[in-house]
Amino acid sequence: MTPCGMISGGMTALLRTEGLTRRYAGLVAVDAVDMAVEPGLVHAVIGPNGAGKTTLFNLISGIVAPSAGSVWLGGADITRLPADRRAQRGIARTFQNIRVFGAMTVLENVLTGLHARPGPGIAATILRLPRFRRMERDCVARARAALDFVGLADRAEERAAALAYGDQRRLEIARALAPEPRLLLLDEPAAGMNPAETEALGHLVRRIRAAGTTVLLVEHDMGFVMGVSDRVTVLNFGRRIFDGAPAAARRESVVIEAYLGPKVAARLAREAAS
């Protein structure tokens, strides 16, 4: 069935990309990437700077249209769907450069995340019909639960812009989790965090996994990736150069070469042999 995606369990995957490609003038940011994300796992995408990780995320969440290839969610082709329809189908994400709605309160941010779920419609909204009231109450309860989950319950009424950096990251995660997505994309969640915050984040990601949400993350912090991931895909210059267990990625010569360059990689290999 899959033309070149010889990936184990490809048919049961929650998310699948086939030959996914994005070209910019004179640059192939993502080059024919085949990838499968198994449900219930934490899957990391790693690679040196400029490897195409964020572009891959933008292609999956629908912010950027692919030049070629396709994206499948739970067996359905979502390649042509815009970002908002993908959100309604259960893809949620956070951003590398935090994008909370600064003027809104913390709770309102999370309520906005619940837009991915169906609403009561404009007539019921203006007339304040029981359906509207019920859905609004349900949204507030879900939003509070999400804030509680990430440990921001007591900050609900504060302005989002007033939160500390690490708290804004957690707010973004709560906002993405509130609609109970099938797939959560975390774009460099540990960026700018100190070791203690990173450890707390690792704990949070494991709790998200335990709650049954599939996580796909991009991250530079190798210690963090090795600690939380079940599976790793390595990109270099837009191409997939490795896919497998995190421990195997560390031993894989192409991965070491991509990060350290061929010379250092060769020296390390000689040292390891002797």
């Binding site: 815009p82 003027a103 609004e136």
Partner: protein
């Protein structure tokens, strides 16, 4: 009736001003709806003109009763909003603003040159069927509806779009649908305002719906703010009353308008009423 004489005199003397305050309030809300989703339109005066001309023709040519003319007056502006919105709202940036300026100028040329619209003389002899209470009832209803929408899932989506379109889209907000809906609501409000103004002033002319009134309507929202639907109405109230208070300055009155806009933009980036409404109902 129970209205004392002095109040009756006052209402009679300032009748035009009282009408203008209500109609400009509706126009300010028409501006607010578009700005609230992060778009810039300069077509409010054009939509108003479409409402005014189409309703005047329904009254003068078709002899429709006013209760039928008033709701029908939003049909033509809404149709033009669709025609302009479909190609421009897919793009981000100033395309809508440019297209709506163009709309105003094209329509002005059409009013001037097509006999049906009375040319430079405009249309006169329109009966004054619009009552003061109708104007304020519609303004009140529009304010209430926009207030209730603001404090809901829809209001949250609108504010999210205004702050960060990409993030809003990733939350499941269909930004194209919201932009189109806002432009349609804006055209309907301006169209009704146009029909009301045509039916209180008995005369409409091609010069009333050009670029200058478009900028004045924008300044309602710039001065008042867009944190709540009340803010632009405060702006329109001030900018409608001010020329009356400054009558002595005659031609310099427009200069005051300009100065106020500059001061508002420089020192009051969120408008006079910068309070931001909570976005929850429960």
């Amino acid at each position: 009736m129970a209205i004392p004489d002095w109040l009756d005199d006052l209402l009679w003397t300032y009748q035009n001003l009282i009408h203008s305050l209500g109609i400009n309030g509706l126009l300010a809300l028409s501006m607010y709806v578009v700005l609230a989703v992060g778009q810039l339109s300069l077509g409010q005066a054009a939509f108003m003109g479409l409402g005014a001309y189409s309703s005047a023709l329904m009254t003068l040519r078709l002899h429709w009763p006013f209760w039928a003319v008033l709701p029908a007056s939003c049909v033509v502006p809404a149709a033009f909003a669709l025609a302009i919105g479909v190609p421009t709202l897919r793009l981000s940036g100033v395309y809508l603003a440019i297209a709506t300026i163009g709309l105003g100028e094209v329509l002005r040329a059409i009013y001037l040159n097509v006999d049906l619209f009375g040319g430079a003389l405009g249309l006169s002899g329109i009966p004054d069927s619009a009552e003061t209470w109708m104007i304020y009832a519609l303004l009140g209803a529009a304010l209430l509806a926009l207030w209730l929408i603001g404090r809901s899932r829809i209001g949250r989506a609108m504010e999210a779009m205004r702050e960060d379109e990409v993030a809003a889209q990733v939350m499941g907000v269909n930004i194209r649908a919201y932009r189109m809906g806002a432009l349609l609501a804006s055209a309907v409000l301006a169209g009704i305002a146009g029909a009301l103004s045509a039916h209180v002033s008995s005369f409409i002319g091609p010069g009333e719906y050009g670029f200058e009134p478009a900028v004045t309507i924008l300044s309602f929202a710039l001065l008042g703010g867009i944190g709540t639907p009340l803010a632009p109405v405060l702006g329109s109230t001030i900018l409608t009353l001010l020329p009356e208070l400054l009558r002595g300055f005659s031609d310099l009155r427009l200069v005051f308008n300009g100065v106020i806009i500059v001061i508002a933009v420089l020192f009051l980036p969120n408008g006079l009423l910068s309070w931001r409404m909570p976005r929850r109902a429960a």
